[in-house]
């Protein structure tokens, strides 16, 4: 139990005594030095607790502040850096936003993000403009019929020794007599000394396409060496068409894309038209 005297002192210090009780207490203080001493001791003890209370409160706020500052500091530092970059400070302390720089950096950031997310949007322009589209399977035959034409043969070509047979074969080809053409080409291609082999293979390939034999046609056409540049490029076009005839759309599209980006290809325009690259 608390000493009654201490309780009285507490009430006196807190100001909770009635005026009469307060007057009586003060009269006792004047008369009893021990009570006055006890009051002073009580005051000193209260001062100690009061001081500790302030120190504790201050420590609690400081500790909480340090935790909060740990994250807030980086946020503020980032803001400071951004302000240094994007705000032009005047001598009077006011600032003005560097709109141009902000716009530039924003656009560059957006472009970078788009480049990362959709790189094909940028790459398309390096491949000659519009993105090529695949040929729909249901349009394969119609497209083949629209673009397929036999080789337009010049009348003056032909080797000396095989002049008569080769001339006859070419004539047969011009007259769309593929059966006889293919028969004669067998003999010509079997002879290792035959000089116009690439063109003969091209004729064989196209005749086989005519006879609706795209697989065999490709075997002939693939034999044409790249050294025979013009004939080889023609062969590439017919190979692409043979795939269309076969309705092998992925392979056809891949071949047509190669032709479409080759500026020296005589059929570049047709390939681009098929792939709808100019629309």
């Amino acid at each position: 139990m608390e000493h009654p005297q201490h309780e009285l002192i507490d009430q006196y210090l807190e100001g909770s005594l009635s005026p009469e009780a307060r007057a009586a207490f003060e009269a006792r203080l004047a008369a009893e030095p021990e009570l006055a001493q006890a009051l002073r001791l009580h005051e000193a003890a209260r001062a100690a607790v009061e001081m500790q209370s302030f120190l504790d409160r201050r420590d609690a706020l400081q500790t909480r502040g340090l935790k909060k500052l740990r994250w807030q500091k980086w946020q503020w530092k980032t803001r400071d850096v951004l302000e240094q970059l994007f705000v032009r400070r005047r001598t009077d302390g006011s600032g003005r936003l560097r709109i141009g720089l902000i716009t530039g950096v924003s656009l560059a950031t957006i472009a970078l993000i788009v480049l990362l997310v959709r790189p094909e949007l940028f790459m398309g322009s390096f491949n000659g403009g519009t993105k090529p589209r695949a040929v729909p399977k249901e349009q394969a035959i119609a497209t083949f019929n629209q673009y397929y034409q036999r080789v337009a043969l010049p009348t003056t070509l032909g080797g000396a020794e095989f002049d008569s047979l080769y001339r006859i074969t070419r004539e047969q080809y011009r007259q769309v007599d593929c059966t006889n053409t293919l028969y004669n080409l067998q003999f010509l291609l079997a002879d290792s000394t035959f000089a116009d082999r690439p063109l003969a293979l091209l004729l064989q390939g196209t005749c086989l396409i005519d006879q609706d034999k795209p697989v065999e046609a490709r075997i002939s056409l693939e034999q044409i060496p790249p050294a025979a540049t013009l004939v080889h490029k023609e062969a590439q076009w017919y190979i692409a068409l043979s795939y269309l005839l076969d309705e092998q759309m992925d392979e056809a599209t891949a071949r047509l894309r190669k032709i479409a980006v080759d500026s020296r290809q005589p059929h570049q325009a047709e390939a681009r038209a098929i792939l709808k690259m100019d629309q």
């Binding site: 209260r46 909480r64 340090l66 909060k68 500052l69």
Partner: protein
Amino acid sequence: MDDAQLTQMIRQGGIPRERANRRLQDKFFYLIRQVGVRQQRLSYEDALSAFSDALTELDAKICQGEPIEDLGKMLYTLTHRRGVDIIRKRTTKSGTDPLNHPTAQAELAEWFLDIIQNTDSEHVFSRLSNSEMEEERSVRHKRISACVLHALEQLPRKRRSLLVNKLDGYDYEELTQIHGFKTERVAHEMVSRGMNSLRETLKTLCQQEVPVCRELCAWLNRKNQL
């Protein structure tokens, strides 16, 4: 929550006072950057220190019944002042009092002593320093503070915390919950015992003639009345 509500909560003491202080800290946390870091070129840690001092001072001023119209403005001013104190402390060398208590708490800031003098503890300070020079009075105040805090340090931590909570305005019901007493009566008894221990400790320090407690003991042992 407006200024009037926050002021009322602080004056209410206990848990509402703690909440109000936290609210004030969150609301005006930007002053650390605005005043301490940008205006006074302090480090973030020093600026926080100035801000925490300012918050404590504001809390004390409110508790003392000082009328404050705008808490934000007052906190701004106080943070600025405490920042200046930190800068001064760095640039000037302070003389050491040979009688100072060796603990860090003896190094109490002037503003803190000013606050204490305006609280219920003013008797302890003011009656000891009627006709002294300002500087001498400050040294004496520091010694008295160091002495009473030294006395408080002698108590067990839990008891010390109980006394502090009681003075902060927690009622016995809250003290019972916080400190895990069985009944409010036990809490009341423990507070009384704590105060008794503190008084006894102060008496013992005076009997041992601890140098830092010289002024305080002289005042306590005076034969005349007040």
